[in-house]
């Protein structure tokens, strides 16, 4: 099922089946080029597949935008150890709701992508790690897996190649941190989702101490189309070094929020005006959070920009997970900063001190500030605390909390100051909170 009307501006590559009746069924998939790509891959060498992936300029859709072909080439193939394929369907970055649609509407596309990855790195087992809240999707993916076994597409001797491949689902149970790849592996191993020290990276030492290829659900879902159309043709859809299309999850104050598949490099203002029917209630645009809640905010005047990884990096923010949160002129930035930090504080796993303490302090200060007990020193203090977390934590959750906070306080300092003036009671004594 889809939950919003499609837009005529969409370029449908990975969402092409979403509106078909029975789109999740194997017969629908087979009638629309399904499982052709894996058959093609089985006739190719791993090197040739990796070259095709590199030529596609596909970059990881989980957040960091790491080149997928390169990641695949890091997995050692000449080893006696088993190798694992893991799909990250933990989808918990606020603003992001696309992996859900991929699993709900086209689970076979995901399975085929994982199979191609499995063949490429010489793996015999894949796991789809799905956040616990997505129970209905676990059922859908399990059904798709069962269908694939029934047809002999999974299990022993896949398509007569002599190669065996199994796929299983594995549920999370509520933890944003388990989307971080090494914490995900801990969770998969039945432990608390605490990140591992890197290096070694999962490609070398991953699940159960073995080489592991871990990609986001949307990344794997793009693989069959890449093999069918060829890497260069897929790359052409996007901008240089930012190949293809992605599912943008647009939310907030627009007339038609929704998930839309658009080429990388699609202009952000056009996304708001033409794809999403403009701002709600005729309000003016104040800002956009361009890539999930971890990405620093863009002011309205910065929004005439192509949405791809490199253009966002140039603006010192991130294309991240594709969650585009649109804010109108009435948005209370102080409240937003406070709510964002409340999330990271809640989700910090507590393993390393800069993140555990940093998010807790910042949440306390922002909470108090928002409640009306702010002090003028709080504004630089918030910035300083956040900057002190950057790069000092075990995993990137600390950065994910610090970066947007720095963005809010630097770009909307005037709003923090105005909030202080509005709420300050000159009679009240200074509060000592920390």
């Amino acid at each position: 099922m889809i939950y919003n009307e499609p837009s005529p501006l969409e370029v449908k590559v990975i969402s092409q089946r979403f509106t078909l009746p029975n789109s999740a069924a194997i017969d629908t998939y087979l009638a629309t080029d399904g499982y052709l790509a894996v058959k093609k891959a089985l006739g190719m060498t791993p090197e040739a597949i990796i070259d095709e992936m590199k030529a596609s300029n596909l970059r990881g859709r989980g957040g960091a935008g790491f080149p997928t072909g390169m990641k695949w080439s890091f997995v050692p193939r000449k080893t006696d150890k088993p190798r694992y394929i893991i799909c990250n369907s933990d989808e918990s970055e606020p603003g992001t709701c696309k992996d859900r649609l991929l699993m709900e509407n086209d689970p076979h596309q995901l399975l085929e992508g994982m199979m191609i990855a499995g063949w490429t790195v010489g793996s015999n087992k894949g796991y789809v790690f799905i956040r616990g809240e997505y129970r209905y999707l676990i059922d859908i993916v399990d059904r798709a897996i069962a269908e694939a076994y029934e047809r002999g597409f999974l299990g022993k001797n896949v398509f007569g190649s002599g190669w065996d491949f199994d796929i299983y689902t594995h549920t999370g149970a509520g933890a944003y941190e388990c989307g971080e790849e090494s914490a995900l592996l801990e969770s998969l191993e039945g432990k608390r989702g605490i990140p591992r020290l890197k290096p070694p990276f999962p490609a070398v030492v991953g699940a159960w101490q073995s080489p592991t290829l871990l990609n986001n659900c949307e990344t794997f879902s793009a693989v069959p189309a890449i093999l069918r159309m060829g890497g260069p043709a897929y790359a052409e859809l996007g901008t240089p070094k930012n190949g293809g299309t992605r599912l943008f999850c647009i939310s907030g104050h627009v007339n038609k929020p929704g998930v839309y598949e658009l080429p990388l490099g699609f202009n952000l203002l056009r996304m708001i005006d033409e794809v999403c029917g403009g701002m709600r209630n005729g309000k003016k645009l104040k800002a956009v959070i361009p890539g999930g809640s971890s990405s620093p905010v863009l002011k309205a005047q910065e929004c005439d920009v192509p949405m791809d990884f490199d253009s966002m990096a140039k603006l010192k923010t991130m294309a991240g997970s594709g969650g585009v949160v649109v804010l109108d002129e009435d948005t209370d930035i102080v409240q937003l900063a406070m709510r964002t930090m409340k999330f990271y504080q809640h989700e910090s796993c507590g393993w390393c001190i800069p993140c555990r303490e940093g998010t807790t302090w910042l949440k306390k200060i922002l909470d108090r500030f928002h409640e009306g007990d702010g002090r003028s020193e709080d504004i630089p203090l918030i910035g300083e605390l956040a900057r002190n977390m950057l790069g000092r934590t075990f995993c990137a959750l600390g950065d994910a909390a610090a970066m947007p906070t720095i963005g809010f306080i630097e770009k909307f300092r005037d709003e923090f100051e105005a909030h202080l003036l509005k709420t300050q009671d000159p009679q009240s004594p200074e509060l000592i909170v920390l």
Binding site: P94, G95, G132, H170, A173, G174, G190, G252, L336, E347
Partner: protein, 166 residues
Amino acid sequence: MTFSPALEEKFARILTIYPPGRQRSAVVPMLLYAQDEIGHVSQEVIDEIAHRVGIAPMQVDEVIGYYSMLHRKPLGKYHVQVCTNICCLLVGGQSLLEHASKTLGIGNKQVTADGLFSLEEVECMGACSWAPAIQVNYDFHHKVTPERLDRLIEDIRKAQGTKQVS
């Protein structure tokens, strides 16, 4: 202790999907599925699952403490989860939570006296483009208004009432 035949079958399968000697990997799925059947993770469930995956009950307890969906105390039969994270906040998620609290007569993380409902403020549930969103147990509801929420709760109450009469 034993679970329903369907769950026993599921558990037997789950224990085979991880590499040999790595049965501990099944612990989170088993806990969540057991909770779905029993309503919460009781001490009995902990002991049983610890035994089946071959770790100490305390190690299972340690895992439970980490995951927000695993509960040591019974939830309501209908667990109403309201997202107040940023995308939902922007379009009324916070007032929806307050409304839910009023309608149900309970606060965050509380259970109604009849055990029918519990309420929880939750983080982003992956419905941001169709906000504000709630989940009742595992069912998603998108673009929820206070009126729709009331109707949903009323419908559950009514259905429950009829069941009790019949």
